[in-house]
Symmetry: C2
Subunit: 158 residues, 2 copies
DNA sequence: CCTTTCGTGTTATATTATCACATACGCCGA
DNA sequence: TCGGCGTATGTGATAATATAACACGAAAGG
């Protein structure tokens, strides 16, 4: 199985793995994976798709957490800042990081048919984007790479 | 001079070139480069930077065009749909296309120091991103590639 | 002349995101 | 033990970004 799959993998296992990795990471870095933060990560992992901040907020509210936007945004910011989740700019939505620990730039393949988002990583230092930046004397910080198109399943359906 | 420069180029010339290219393109494709649309493209070209929709709207309003958001959004949508401008998702802002006519995916280098945005293009079909998509059986549609970092000038200053 | 299409304009509203301030809790040094 | 400090949570209010829905007018084509 590739690291880049759209539909066929053990979803509950990846959710558990992901949460364990997050706990580990927070222990290592001295970060607090508080109840709200942990729950938001779980929601993203359970949903296994890009979710809007207000969608997350609705779920939090229903579970007795704070009900105002900053509650969701702060938890999401924490997760994103610490590499546990990503924001998909194109969708104004958030998704659990599928490959925690990787130091490469995340790349998202977004299916316009079913909305599924697959994550992989790319080493920017080397390759075309690296060349482009080097030639321009540009020092790369963070990168947003989001590709819209059709996943294998939706291609077959069409 | 590279096609990817941050600060040193003939700005008024590029603005004129850009407008001429837009007129040409609209003639060829049977599109209407109406006064609002043309003016918005000019504003983006004159600003030579990413501008928010409401910033554009304020300028339009001051010049006697309609004063409500759809006026700006519609003109911007037209320009983006027809390859005359791009939306920088990361900034929720718009910029004139610096390389009109190119059929490759636009790549933006965004300087976090001075806010300057440089545009270049990348052929996705071939290269790493193409490989990634191929391996996953993913059919590439449109791509968002936005790299934040520091331009040469801001690196020297630091 | 009539109809259709497209573009513009308006009002109203939806969606996404942040500010500002209050409270609580743990830690740690005085 | 207590006070100060940093951090996290919660709140109400508001900002920033974007779209829906509808009216009008101009141009094209029968």
């Amino acid at each position: 199985m590739s690291d880049l799959d759209f539909h066929d993998h053990d979803h509950s296992a990846c959710r558990a793995t992901l949460l364990r990795a997050a706990e580990q990471r927070c222990r290592d870095k001295g970060l607090q994976l508080t109840p709200v933060r942990r729950r938001v990560l779980e929601l993203l992992a359970e949903g296994h798709r890009a979710m809007g901040a207000y969608e997350v907020l609705d779920l939090l509210r229903a579970e007795g957490f704070g009900s105002q936007p900053p509650v969701a945004y702060r938890a999401l910011d924490f997760l994103v800042s610490n590499g546990l989740a990503h924001k998909i700019e194109r969708l104004n939505a958030f998704i659990a990081c599928a490959l925690p620990g990787s130091r490469h730039a995340p790349v998202f393949l977004i299916c316009t048919g079913c909305g599924t988002v697959a994550e992989t990583h790319l080493d920017l230092g080397d390759g075309r984007l690296g060349e482009i930046a080097d030639r321009a004397g540009f020092e790369i910080g963070r990168a947003v790479v989001e590709i819209e198109g059709r996943c294998p399943t939706c291609r077959e359906a069409a």
